[in-house]
């Protein structure tokens, strides 16, 4: 992130310098030395951000990859175990289960919110007005709340005598009430819905912004071709917000795979291991079972998985546009 932010600054410097030297001398050695000076200037601009990135992101990451090759309790001496930790990550049923749950969450964090977001954004775009502005704010609200607070709220909503069950009782559905987060059959669904609730607002807003940019004349042309609202939505709106869909998918998939707060607060991975995700397991491996090497291996697998998925999405998005 830091690197890409500073790159434009260095690029801007170049045309300005070129204009300055054109007046002086076009001679080749001078130009070469000027080029070198420009490079130094560029480095000076990139430098601070680069050092910060290296120190606080690249180096710790490389260090954790290095630790993942050891068996280490976090304090004492460590033993080199090579790829053993990785073998365990990919074969231990609990660790594999956590990765599977993380991937399962993508449905609730990405697929549902983008689907819902497309419909909601299209409705907002079609019916602008004060009410839709308020609704948009309301929808976006979960995004600005700390996820720990979100977890605490939903734990209360889902509890045995909490609001969800009270509403069900009112509608005569007392038979299905239960402790939603403590039931093996519903816990995963329940935490998934919290994810949907959190990310739908972000997706809606992103897509809504994208829809504002779509050329109105495309809709007029579609109307002339006798396209109804549904076909306009399918053939004009969705292709028009492809870039936004790619961004929303990327951000929410990362949120799904790296989820921790909501699950840690609501179920802690239970009941049994029904809702365990890599984030919670990494935390437990480091802080309760002192298996720092194994935790780093799981973290590395998780980050590689995220990078691969994000790269694939980026590729698909580029190809189509």
């Amino acid at each position: 992130m830091a690197v890409t932010n500073t790159a434009p600054a260095a690029l801007v410097r170049e045309p300005a310098g070129a204009a300055g030297t054109a007046r002086r001398s076009p001679a080749t050695p001078a130009r070469r030395s000027r080029k070198r000076r420009d490079r130094l200037a560029a480095l000076a601009f990139i430098g601070p951000a680069f050092v910060a990135y290296g120190l606080f992101i690249a180096a710790p990451w490389a260090h954790s990859v290095w630790i993942s090759l050891f068996e280490w309790d976090g304090i004492g001496p460590s033993t080199w175990v090579g790829l053993d930790n990785y073998v365990k990550v990919l074969t231990d049923p609990e660790l594999v289960g956590a990765l599977r749950n993380g991937i399962g969450l993508i449905f609730f964090y990405t697929v549902l919110p983008i689907g819902l977001g497309l419909v909601l954004a299209a409705l907002f775009a079609a019916a602008p007005g004060r009410a839709s502005g308020w609704l948009r704010t309301l929808l976006f609200l979960p995004q600005i709340m700390p996820l720990v607070a979100v977890g605490v709220i939903w734990r209360y909503l889902y509890s045995g005598d909490g609001p969800v069950n009270q509403v069900l009782e009112v509608f005569g559905l007392g038979a299905v009430t239960r402790a939603w987060l403590g039931d093996f059959d519903t816990a995963f669904l329940a935490v998934g819905i919290v994810g949907t609730w959190v990310t739908t607002g972000l997706c809606t807003l992103l897509l809504f912004t994208g829809m504002q940019k779509i050329d109105r004349s495309l809709y007029e042309a579609a109307q002339l071709d006798r396209c109804g609202p549904v076909r306009q939505f399918l053939h004009v709106t969705i292709p028009g917000v492809r870039a936004e869909i790619v961004v929303a998918t990327t951000v929410t998939i990362i949120a799904a795979l790296a989820s921790f707060d909501v699950i840690f607060v609501t179920t802690g991975g239970g009941p049994g291991t029904a809702t365990i995700v890599p984030g919670v397991l990494i935390y437990r491996l480091v802080f309760t079972s002192n298996q720092v090497g194994l935790a780093c291996a799981l973290a590395t697998v998780l980050s590689v998985l995220i990078m691969v998925i994000v790269a694939v999405i980026g590729r698909i998005g580029k190809e189509r546009s």
Binding site: F50, H63, G74, I75, G76, S78, F184, T267, P271, S289
Partner: protein, 436 residues
């Protein structure tokens, strides 16, 4: 652009790696030993000790420090506290740092003793007669074998400062309505659960979102098997098994009671605090919980609150002590040991009882007649007398708490049989303490 940035980034990361050293971690037990010879004489030189603790465990310690400083005017103790979760994450790093505290609260020995971060206290146990002062089972939890993981035998690494006990709370009003008195045998207890269920009263309040059903299994288990034999497993003694007569009885009872609806159907979704709140509001005849919730229960139920040791063939309680250890890099081990010894004094005992812990010296506890506190103290003296204190099974391995939580949730939901429950728990134990 991309590529040019990537290369230096990799070089940079590699350089950082080299700088951070090759293999992670240091060498064990490298702390320099103090020049002091173990002695009870602290001399007259000014000494400052630093002590780290948590708010819950440290409340009585803070009060005790004042009394200690009065007794030893040349010693000052600086008190510092961190909340429980953060404390457990950081205590080993602090003890391993250059500015290690002299005295540290120890919530579990694993990793701390193995890496030689705290002193062997046996010389001081001899000097101060701790083995005579404390019942054996109360000190054994802080004895660690040579392998660093087996407890109960070997050098002592911490000294107790107030105890916890888990037992059976009951609602006296509901009991009177049902015409029952506190049970003393397991058969009687089960009959009373049935009586309550027949009368439409919830027999046993329970919250298992954080795995507190394991208290029930352990209470039934150790009161059947006896404290001494039962503790071997929690201590990690080689060849022990979780599949004992008592644990089997406990696991089967739990599955049976869940199936019969004698415990709340949503137990897996309610935590301990939720269960205590429900019990206090009159939902449930019995609740198995520790003395740490006593003040909340006494406040909520008033004169209706009662407490007895868990009913069974043997008088036992699950419990542990607040315990302090001495850093192996301290410069004043003698002064630190004098403080640890002072934690067993009548003044310290009185402070501990005031903060809700059971004191070493039961005469320091002077509760009002007929209160819940009186029940707790009476249960505590019976347990001390029977030497019936057993550490928490949850501490049997670093991951045991998570395993007990997950497996007991499966047991309650009918997703695992008692056999599978016992096997899953034993499998976790085997990973730390080696199979048979």
């Amino acid at each position: 652009m991309q590529r040019r940035i990537l290369h230096p980034a990799l070089a940079f990361a590699a350089a950082a790696l080299v700088l951070t050293g090759c293999a992670p971690g240091g060498t064990a037990g490298s702390a320099p030993a103090s020049a002091e010879k173990p002695s009870t004489d602290l001399g007259s030189e000014e000494i400052t000790l630093s002590l780290i603790s948590t708010p819950e465990s440290g409340a009585s310690t803070k009060a005790t420090i004042a009394a200690f400083e009065k007794e030893y005017p040349n010693v000052t103790v600086e008190y510092q506290q961190t909340n429980y979760d953060d404390y457990n994450k950081s205590v080993n790093l602090e003890l391993n740092s250059d500015k290690a505290p002299d005295i540290a609260l120890l919530n579990s020995v694993n990793n701390t003793v193995k890496n030689g971060l705290v002193l062997d206290l046996d010389p001081y146990a001899g000097l101060y007669d701790w083995t005579d002062k404390y019942p054996e089972n109360q000190l054994n939890q802080w004895r660690v074998g040579e392998n660093g993981t087996t407890l109960g035998d070997g050098p002592l690494y911490a000294a107790p400062a107030g105890f916890s006990e888990v037992g059976l709370y009951y609602n006296k009003r509901i009991a009177a309505e049902l015409g029952i008195t506190a049970p003393t045998t397991f058969a009687e207890f089960e009959e009373q659960l049935a009586t309550a269920a027949a009368a439409g009263v919830l027999p046993l309040q329970l919250g298992n979102a954080e795995g507190h059903a394991s208290f029930l299994v352990q209470s039934i288990g150790q009161s059947t098997d006896g404290a001494g034999a039962y503790a071997d497993w929690a201590f990690g003694k080689s060849g022990s098994t979780f599949d004992t007569e008592g644990n089997r009885k406990g696991a089967e009872a739990l599955a049976d009671w869940a199936a019969k609806g004698w415990i709340p159907s949503d137990a897996n979704g309610v935590n301990l605090q939720g269960a205590v709140d429900a019990f206090v509001s009159g939902k449930g005849l019995f609740l198995v919980d520790g003395n740490w919730d006593a003040s909340k229960i006494a406040e909520g139920l008033g004169a209706d609150a009662g407490f007895v040791p868990f009913p069974g063939d043997n008088v036992t309680a699950i419990g542990t002590s607040v315990a302090y250890a001495i850093s192996s890099s301290t410069e004043h081990p003698n002064a630190a040991a004098a403080f640890l010894n002072f934690l067993g004094s009548p003044e310290a005992s009185a402070n501990q009882f005031e903060q809700g812990f059971m004191p070493l010296d039961p005469t320091a506890a002077t509760p009002e007649e007929g209160t819940l506190q009186a029940d707790l103290v009476s249960a505590w003296s019976k347990i001390s007398e029977a030497d019936g204190l057993v550490g928490f099974n949850n501490n049997a391995s670093p991951t045991m708490n998570d395993t007990l939580t997950a497996s007991s949730q499966e047991l309650l939901a009918g997703r695992a049989t008692p056999d599978e429950f016992l096997a899953a728990v034993q499998a976790d134990w085997d990973e730390t303490h080696g199979g048979n």
